[in-house]
């Protein structure tokens, strides 16, 4: 059996278990809509400031909320791994011929699928609020960016989960990284309004790469070279964190 088949089997298992939790489903649906409505009201007049290039704030915000949701889902994905670890489920998988990589890939894929569905929902709500987000191509880019962002951060999160093996540590790390990464980006605010040094620093931030790629089609004057570069960077980030997560298995297995 191939790694791809195993990945799908393991991913389907988690999605099936989640589908049985109505409260979880409700929160996953309501939360991004809540962000979108809340921020679009809170910052309604922000586009009066220069730097937004004549784009409405809803147009500006929708890709941002899609990325933010993906980034959060990814960052917290490791909690599921810790649960499997505590309950011995992981140990059980490891004693089968299933590939170690598939165990990580299945979990990463699950986070990415959820985030993509959430991004789609956000785009639909945005559309109701009047945000076109660059049409079909724009939507495809936003969905791809959300997928890569959730997957990339899920890799990081699973790696940390396998190394810390404790919920409290996992929560601490996720919280520690989430707000700085959020604010060192143009997710909520136009880049022109961010101090120069923060703009420079934000170029090292995968969240910023995702936002810049996702917003590309909606903001006039953004070229495919820029969007393509950011998407590639995101892909590189995903590759790195996936390797990190897979390697973290060794660290976990040393404790067995």
């Amino acid at each position: 059996m191939t790694v791809a088949t195993q990945t799908l089997i393991l991913c389907a298992r988690v999605l099936r278990n989640l589908a049985r939790q109505p409260i979880w489903i409700a929160v996953m649906i309501v939360q991004p809509m809540f962000w979108l409505l809340l921020y679009s009201q809170l910052f309604k007049r922000i586009t009066d400031l220069p730097g937004f290039g004549g784009v409405s704030y809803v147009d500006y915000l929708t890709p941002g909320v899609a990325i933010m949701t993906a980034f959060f889902s990814g960052s917290w994905a490791g909690m599921g791994m810790i649960e499997d670890l505590d309950r011995g489920v992981l140990e059980r998988f490891l004693a089968t011929p299933a590939s170690r990589a598939a165990i990580v890939f299945g979990r990463i894929l699950q986070a990415a699928i959820i985030a993509t569905l959430q991004a789609l929902l956000i785009l639909l709500v945005g559309l109701l609020l009047g945000a076109r987000n660059g049409g079909i191509v724009g939507w495809m880019v936003i969905l791809l960016a959300a997928f890569l962002t959730a997957a990339g951060f899920a890799g990081l999160s699973h790696g940390i989960a396998l190394r810390t093996r404790q919920e409290a540590s996992m929560i601490a790390v996720a919280q520690f990284i989430s707000l700085p990464l959020l604010f060192f980006s143009s997710l909520l605010i136009a880049r022109a309004l961010i101090p120069d040094w923060m703009q420079t620093a934000s170029l090292l931030n995968p969240v910023e790469w995702a936002v810049r790629a996702a917003r590309g089609e909606a903001i006039p004057g953004t070229g495919w070279d820029e969007m393509g570069t950011f998407l590639l960077l995101l892909g590189g980030f995903l590759a790195l964190t996936t390797i990190f997560a897979t390697r973290s298995f060794r660290s976990y297995q040393r404790t067995l």
Binding site: I9, R16, R87, V89, E91, A95, P97, L256
Partner: protein, 319 residues
């Protein structure tokens, strides 16, 4: 042919804890073999190495003819592993758990569905096949655990503490299942337990493990018959255990005296005859006796005999 050969495995954990210190034993095909020892003796570590979950620092081991370090994939296809920490998915049904396990083992659907139905039947879980595992009782969950280890028809089954945490009734039921299993399927079973009674009842041969080594190995009967006569345990009021032990040692018919906290353990030819003599001698010497028990030799006594320590006291020490 031996289904399991363990030769001189050593393992030290990061913090300098020496879990295995040259453990060595072998299990012929089709046998139920028990690794018996207190918590922290190295049983689970041994099983984890054999199940390819972790590696040894030194020594070699083969399972079903495959080296656990070099041919991990072949070992994983040949074994069923039932970990101490369960490992069932509580948010899934019993049926889904079996199917997932079978698919990860590379089984095909029609065969897998049949096998899973058979196992649910065998383990009395058919009624609950489509219920989420979190609604199962402890005993049912454990039975599903064992069924999951068997789904791909392994040659070797590892059962790590199969009845720990079960109430006495569920434990007795599990023992019956395991006994039936051992006789029905042509399966080699390596069982770890810290219940002497469990090893006595289920295992054809037993290795007693202490501090990462096999202390003694044999059938439960042969181990017990090595010990001559009955076991007498005298609990003192704690004034002077040393002197009481010395007095007991001088008595006729007493072969062996071991001290253990406030208790002394004696081995005597005939328990019923020896007790009055022992009590009189201790009374004369002014030692206060709190209780006396006489028993036929048990694996408990075998452990005491070979390690010089009381099994229950050692079992309290966690790794």
């Amino acid at each position: 042919m031996d289904a399991i050969v363990v030769d001189g495995l050593e393992k030290t954990y990061g913090r300098g804890v020496r879990a295995l210190d040259g453990i060595r034993f072998s299990v012929p095909e089709g046998e139920v073999f028990g690794l018996l020892g207190p918590n922290g003796a190295g049983k689970s570590t041994t099983v984890r190495i054999l199940a390819t979950l972790t590696t040894a620092d030194a020594g070699t081991a083969t399972v079903a003819g495959h080296d656990v370090a070099r041919e991990a994939g072949a070992v994983r296809r040949a074994i069923g592993y039932v970990p101490q920490a369960s490992g069932v998915d509580r948010e899934a049904t019993g049926h889904e758990n079996l199917i997932l396990q079978g698919r990860l083992q590379g089984m095909r659907r029609p065969d897998l569905e049949r096998r899973s139905a058979d196992l649910l039947e065998t383990f009395g879980l058919s009624d609950k096949a489509t219920a989420l595992v979190k609604t199962y009782s402890g005993g049912m969950k454990r039975r599903l655990d064992v069924a999951m280890g068997l789904v791909h028809r392994p040659k070797v089954l590892f059962l790590d503490e199969p009845t720990t945490g079960l109430d006495p009734e569920a434990r007795a039921a599990m023992w019956e299942e395991l006994e039936a299993l051992a006789s029905a399927e042509r399966l080699t079973i390596l069982l770890t337990t810290h219940y002497l009674e469990e090893a006595d009842r289920l295992a054809r041969r037993v290795a007693i493990v202490s501090k990462g080594k096999v202390v003694v190995e044999g059938t439960p009967e042969s181990l017990k018959s090595e010990l001559r006569g009955d076991a007498v345990t005298v609990e003192l009021d704690g004034t002077d255990t040393d002197r009481a032990a010395d007095i007991a040692r001088e008595l006729v018919g007493v072969h062996e005296v071991t001290k253990d906290g406030r208790r002394i353990h004696l081995r005597v030819d005939q328990g019923a005859q020896a007790v009055p003599v022992i009590l009189a001698a201790l009374d004369n010497a002014g030692s206060g006796v709190q209780s006396v028990t006489v028993s036929r030799p048990s694996l408990d006594d075998v452990y005491l005999h070979h390690t010089g320590r009381d099994f229950r006291a050692d079992d309290g020490e966690q790794r």
